[in-house]
């Protein structure tokens, strides 16, 4: 009988932070080795949970982009939500769409210059093709109380209305048994997730709705409050620094060809990489300034560091996460094995 091993966070308190539903992280290699389809794997996992569960199948062999446009290895390719073992037949399951490489795509989405330089030959997945889903706007799976949203990077219990953020690099670390930070999202990340790049079939937006340098939030001083009190599991800042450095070394310019998020801006400033301040809109400046990332901050002279130094000092250079604690993944999240 085939077996499936995956990582599971049970609903309830996790090291002092409230996880509002059960969360399963499944490696796509495990699914393929078990000889089942992604949907069958989700159904098998769902049957073991007597409550709401969000489920992600993560493919470590492909690439994706973070919300601010940094290209990283691995992403969720299949997502689902279930409640008391049931996956809603209309709304409980979604697959991400592949974006094939083309010169036209790079022209439309210039942050993808990283692709050929850093990850040649890797397949790219972000969000689903909207034609494959019934839900009109969000890239979300819902079954009963369980909601798995924004292409599997934020999960909610819609009855208790509690939520948790699971940015893609954090999930990469979970699958790799790396290091993560568990904490509260806070104002800086709340602002940062609005500094997106235009992407077709993006993780949050299906069209290239917002240009680089713009904010998707458009909320002024309220942007910092949007996700501030929600727990999150993010990658160790050294991992984030390493990925942003690769992005900037590939030629991406913050505010023009990569999102002007506080994390990207902070690494760029320490690397001495030019920020395209003229391309950042007033609305984006208002949000960035509300959490300290003003024009003056961007122009302030700081010590230029080597990539190695930035990675070593990532915790002090990259802002974000309130009341966070760093964990080795095996110390935080346990593995479960089921028979199929």
């Amino acid at each position: 009988m085939a077996k499936l091993t995956y990582k599971m966070i049970p609903e309830g308190m996790l090291e002092g932070k409230y996880v509002p539903l059960n969360i399963a992280f499944i490696d796509y290699r495990e699914v393929k080795n078990a000889g089942v389809t992604p949907r069958q794997a989700f159904e098998a996992v769902a049957k073991t949970v007597d409550g709401p569960v969000g489920m992600n199948i993560f493919d470590q062999d492909v690439v994706t982009t973070t919300s601010d446009g940094v290209m990283v290895e691995g992403t969720v390719r299949f997502m689902a939500a279930a409640d008391k073992g049931k996956i809603n037949p209309d709304f409980g399951y979604l697959e991400m769409a592949e974006m094939p490489y083309s010169d036209e795509l790079i022209k439309e989405e210039p942050h993808l210059i990283q692709w050929k330089k850093n990850y040649p030959g890797k397949r790219l997945f972000r969000g689903p093709d909207p034609a494959t889903k019934i839900i009109p706007v969000h890239n979300v799976c819902i079954s009963g109380r369980a909601s798995n949203n924004n292409s599997a990077t934020e999960m909610m219990n819609i009855v208790t209305m509690e939520e948790i953020l699971l940015p893609i690099l954090g999930q990469q670390q979970i699958l790799r048994n790396g290091k993560v930070i568990l904490g509260m999202t806070g104002g800086i990340i709340s602002v940062g997730i609005g500094m997106i790049m235009p992407e077709k079939f993006g993780r949050v937006f299906p069209t290239r709705q917002f240009p680089a340098g713009e904010t998707a939030h458009g909320s002024g001083p309220y942007a910092q409050t949007l996700k501030a009190h929600i727990p999150c599991i993010v990658a160790d800042k050294a991992v984030l620094a390493e990925n942003i450095i690769k992005c900037l070394e590939a030629g991406c310019i913050p505010g023009r060809t990569v999102g002007a998020s506080p994390a990207v801006l902070s690494v760029a400033r320490s690397m001495g990489v030019e920020i395209d301040m003229g391309n950042i809109t007033d609305r984006a400046y208002e949000e960035l300034g509300s959490v300290g990332f003003t024009k003056e901050w961007m122009q302030e002279k700081v010590d230029i560091l080597t990539p190695e130094e930035i990675i070593a000092r990532a915790d002090e250079i990259i802002p974000g996460v309130v009341d966070g604690t760093k964990y080795n993944v095996p110390d935080l999240i346990k593995e479960t094995t089921i028979e199929l």
């Binding site: 409640d83 008391k84 049931k86 809603n88 209309d90 709304f91 409980g92 019934i134 839900i135 009109p136 706007v137 969000h138 979300v140 819902i142 079954s143 009963g144 109380r145 909601s147 949203n149 909610m156 819609i158 009855v159």
Partner: protein, 156 residues
């Protein structure tokens, strides 16, 4: 002579068939076009439950926010029938009647209106708000006997 009488009979039957078909089509057509007023819908459900031959109290939820709405007639009749049917089931003491969005993300327009001291609108801003809702499983956690009579999404 026989053939002539037979032809007349066929003609009469055909005419009758056409009349009946048109009458039926009109009923079906009207039924699909007609919509039930919200207060009438609520009353119909109350009557179906509380004035059933096996009367049961009914609590209707999920429509409280509506003040002016027309309800699909075709389904109104079927739902009345389902309510009556539920009152007749063994062991049922009361009816809980819950309306939730079929598609668990609803798209709303938000109207932000500034009003002057005389109650006249001075200015308005329109925004959009997409709301996520639990699906039916959240309301059926304690129930195993479920008969899903809904057609596929997009069908009447």
């Amino acid at each position: 002579m026989y053939l002539e009488r037979y032809s007349v009979r066929i003609y009469e039957l055909s005419f009758a068939f056409i009349v009946i078909s048109l009458w039926t089509a009109e009923r079906v057509f009207n039924m699909k076009l007609m919509h039930t007023k919200l207060p009438e819908f609520l009353e119909k459900m109350r009557v179906a439950s509380e004035e059933s031959s096996n009367p049961k109290p009914i609590k209707i939820r999920g429509l409280e926010n509506l003040t002016s709405a027309k309800m699909q007639s075709l389904r109104t009749g079927r739902i009345e029938h389902a309510v009556r049917e539920m009152t007749m089931k063994d062991g049922v003491e009361r009816i809980e009647f819950q309306v939730i969005p079929r598609v668990p993300e609803t798209m709303h327009t938000v109207i932000i209106k500034g009003v002057d001291k005389d109650g006249k609108a001075k200015s308005a801003i329109l925004e959009v708000l997409n709301i996520l809702h639990p699906t039916e499983e959240a309301y059926l956690l304690d129930c195993d006997d479920i008969e899903d009579r809904r057609p596929g999404i997009g069908r009447h």
